[in-house]
Amino acid sequence: MAKTYSEINTKIAAGTVVVVTAEEMIGLVEADGADKAAERVDVVTTGTFGPMCSSGAFLNFGHSKPRMKVSKAWLNDVNAYAGLAAVDLFIGATELPETDPENTPHPGEFRYGGGHVIGDLVAGRDVRFRASAYGTDCYPRQELDTWLNIRDLNECVLCNFRNAYQNYNVAVNAHADRDIYTYMGVLKKGLANANYCSAGQLSPLLNDPYYRTIGIGTRIWLGGGEGYVFWPGTQHNPTVPRGENGVPKAGAGTLAVIGDLKQMDPRWIVGVSLLGYGVSLNVGIGVPIPILDAEMARFTAVKDSEITAQIIDYSKNYPYCEGAPLGAIDYASLRSGSIEINGKPVPTGSLSSYPRAQEIAADLKDRIATGKFFLGEPSQLLPSADSGQSFKMLVERPVG
């Protein structure tokens, strides 16, 4: 019999909810079958922790005396976008200081940027705030140089437009004589390593492949606090090829997520530097999946060996949009430490932390089991495989 969100929330309030992690669900469904598991289990928790470049934060720092309509702003010398009223800013995860040497010499180290500013705010560290303005009759002030601390901000909201990718590429470098430096890490020449970036069987969207329970209003574990899914993420691409289990064979769905940074923990919001590429923000996300019926039990029992990713050459396929993937490989093989490409053993590394994903799924499980976290029923589900929505490349047109 199907369960409802409100029935599950009533059980959470009563302390009778049965909640397991997506790892634990695998064994339950293997042992008892999806029907029995669906009767027994109410919620499956997921988790993922990795670099999520399309992240950022809105902050409102309050009005100075005299007032100022900030038009240019820097947080620890990193540009923040100020084209929003007078005292609101948006700081993007991949923004760099104007003084950063970037990729000169190559590969650049990218020691500090927007992701680190957000990490410093969450950690409660003071951030230097410089701003300039042209001045108006109602906002006369033109210069500002002070310190901000998250506790003094009116609002500080993490607002990430594309997180928690449902599956991702496995990156390699087929170039014969040049190592490359990418957002997927350092890739050694001649297919000498392969990097992946997904929590696989613990990843939120891989446990609900058709987004039957994840949508606008889904309450999530975000950076150690609570947040929400507020929209499909940008580049949400539900119509990619899928396996018989419904799992996309390449990057597909994405989430736009929002939450109060003041609740979050610096362990789960971490600025990162990607050699030769730039800066980003590691974000921890956990999504609870209600086991409404046997189909959801089956979906949440997906395991690494049943999820495959495409092997993409980041010296050619990816940057130049040329050629075909070098093959496909499952996450159990990727996690074993070595895969085979063109008959050659290739050691594997990753950008996404599996131990941290386990920790998130376990923490969310504990919060639900102890009545501290309730499910949010989505107002609207995300566009699914039948939506016809797909990712479009840019079509360039001649100008002038």
Partner: protein, 135 residues
Amino acid sequence: MAERKVVFHYPSRLLETPIVSTLVRDFNLGFNILRANVTPGAEGLVVLGLEGSPEDLDRGLAWVEAQGVSVQPLNKDVIRVDEKCTECGACLTLCPTAALWRDPATQRVEFDADKCIACEICVPACPPRAMQVSF
């Protein structure tokens, strides 16, 4: 007598060249192999403790470099700042001695400091910069 710890990085074309025996015969140096990792067709890596007079050590190491072997002095440590490490695994395939490795059973990323040769490749490649040089 002086002792120096060094790391030799061999390009694959020199794997057959008798580097260490030449150091003994022609430069009067004693040696103690602390670690060796030579894969046919790929790079070789040998960590050595060399003994001899300071002049012989200088001459010998200059000769080794002239053969095309990169010589790295081993006089500092790389440490992992555990609070910063997120155990992602971006370092795993870059570490030449597998001092950084993943336990397949737990998926935890481990660091064996005694296997580390302080080549520092992991330092800028670590996204949260948990690997740091300690002098």
